[in-house]
Amino acid sequence: MTPVVEIRGLCKSYRRGDQEVHVLMNLDLTIYEGSFVALMGPSGSGKSTLLNIIAGIDRPDSGELRIAGVDITTLSESALAQWRAENIGFVFQFYNLMPVLTAFENVELPLLLTSLSRRQRREHVEMVLDLVGLTDRSEHYPSQLSGGQQQRVAIARALVTDPTLIIADEPTGDLDRVSAHEILDLLASLNGSLGKTIVMVTHDQLAADHAHVIRHLDKGVLNDADQPAPAAV
């Protein structure tokens, strides 16, 4: 199995007033292609910071960070933005869809950064909306959709560019139990059938149970050793 995320000796700290807060300390982590990893830990343990660093929206203070073979710490802001557009799909707790765009338009949004024609974009969007079971809701605005449906749109948006990595930050945190299950099943099926690598932050043990690998973070330190590749799990 090919490693998608390779982290060695990663450190990150913030200044809060006069104090320096160490959020991640000398962290090592490897995530293999096609795996579904859950990052768990109490609030303030650094899991969202780690997720942001993996996604290229935050930078580490030190350490090695290679995503799909690219050392993203050396990329400029614009190159990093381009890299994110091509490699990362985001799913957030509060869906974060553009309220003024329809489900179709929201899913189409990341494709505007590609060179696809309008027709090709439509085909891609229709395909992923079908995949998440929302073909009949494509012209609905987010306010006309349930929480679960909005999260499905967000997943479709994350998928549409066929990214290397899907980053999911508490994807079921704002959903009822039934919808949460549907979303987790959907993520698991995307991982299983399409082989998508997923890194998910969650507080919820039931959610984490859908992942192949569970890693615990506490006070900026990963408590358990790297898990083997999915095939070995």
Partner: protein
């Protein structure tokens, strides 16, 4: 680009009431700005309409002191002078003091030759010259009071006491929109004839000489020569270009003009603050959306386009409506001013300034939120989502 425009347009209507109220504010501000600028322009209308090839000679001590008519021949004989005429301010009242329009006793034979901008039909001018009580009146004043040729107009004299009867013999129109069409011209000879009987000391005296030049560039030299002619006399003269003469009147009310100008700019500043607040609120609410867009790989230029585009769309569309409204408002206000402001036209410069103000409001209101949105790190912007 289409997508960006679609997003901008839809964002603008996310809070319709807020956008509508801001737009109404901009419309009112731009209309008020245009109206105030038009008022300032109206003040300067006389200056704008003045000719560079005419001089005005008045008593050096003050405009209220007259000059002897016999100066006329001496001025006329100077090299470079093409024509000389004269005029006297009458200052009469038509029925009521509020019915103001400028009245001048003029030398009918020369005055209209020197002022070709007052276009009088030849047959009316001929009738005027034949009638000692005849009057040529501007069409704006004639229209305001419903006068027509042949009407008898009584004026109550203030400087020259008594009731003065005049007969409308002609109605002039301006050669262009800058020409004052409110004036009332009658024969100085008629005025002098009565003055000789009622106040002989004031007879054969006029208020100002109007000097036509062969070449406009000779104005400073000829002005000096005229004043030199009458130096050390009982009535020394001060000769200046028509523009300088008119500016002298404007200078008397300069403080009012400064206040009007200051208020016009203050209005723009206020609406700029209102608009900036609207945009700041909108950008604050969408902080997480900008973070998501950046996370997805959209560039800073896209984010700036989104915020600045919305700000400009609002300010320019409302500004355009405000500019359109300047015209009927100025027409209405101009009509209410009547003959007080003979020229009350919306100038092209005012329109450009109003458009510039709308553009400035849009840019200033959008720049700070756009800069903030771009500068906010993605991770920090996302923290705002929770």
């Amino acid at each position: 680009m289409t997508y960006l425009l679609r997003l901008i347009f839809r964002n603008l209507f996310r809070h319709p009431l807020r956008s509508l109220l801001t737009a109404v504010g901009i419309v009112v501000a731009i209309t008020a700005f245009g109206l105030l600028r038009t008022t300032v322009d109206a003040w300067y209308a006389g200056v704008e309409a003045s000719s560079s090839s005419r001089l005005v000679t008045r008593n050096k001590n003050s405009l209220v002191f007259p000059l002897p008519l016999h100066y006329l021949n001496k001025i006329r004989q100077l090299d470079g002078v093409s024509k000389v005429s004269y005029a006297e301010w009458f200052g009469g009242i038509y029925i009521d003091k509020k019915n103001f329009f400028p009245q001048f006793a003029v030398d009918g034979r020369t005055y209209f030759e020197l002022y070709p901008e007052f276009v009088v039909p030849p047959e009316e001018l001929k009738s005027f010259l034949l009638d000692r009580r005849g009057v040529i009146v501007g069409r704006k004043t004639a229209a305001q009071y419903g006068w027509k040729i042949g009407d008898l107009i009584p004026l109550q004299g203030t400087i020259y006491p008594g009731t003065w009867d005049f007969v409308i013999e002609g109605i002039y129109r301006g050669i262009d929109s800058k020409t004052d069409e409110t004036q009332f011209f009658f024969h100085w000879e008629y005025l002098n004839e009565i003055t000789k009987k009622t106040n002989p000391d004031n007879a054969d005296k006029i208020g100002i000489f109007l000097v036509g030049l062969k070449h406009a560039q000779d104005a400073p030299l000829i002005a000096q020569r005229i004043d030199a002619l009458f130096a050390n006399s009982l009535a020394e003269t001060l000769t200046e270009t028509e523009k300088a003469f008119q500016l002298g009147f404007v200078a008397m009310t300069e403080a009012i003009l400064l206040v009007i100008q200051a208020v016009s700019f203050l209005i723009i500043l206020i609406i700029m603050a209102v608009m900036a607040n609207t945009m700041a609120m909108a950008a604050r609410e969408r902080r997480a959306e900008y973070a998501i867009l950046k996370a997805m790989g959209f560039t800073a230029r896209f984010i700036v386009g989104l915020i600045l585009g919305e700000s400009l769309l609002l300010s320019l569309s409302a500004g355009a409506a405000g500019i359109v409204l300047i015209f009927p408002t100025a027409r209405d206000v101009g009509a209410r001013f009547g003959t007080l402001f003979p020229i009350f036209n919306v100038s092209t410069q005012t329109l450009w300034m109003a458009a510039g103000a709308a553009l400035l409001v849009g840019v200033v209101a959008g720049v700070v939120p756009a800069w903030r949105a771009v500068r906010t790190p993605v991770a920090e912007g996302m923290r705002g989502m929770v």
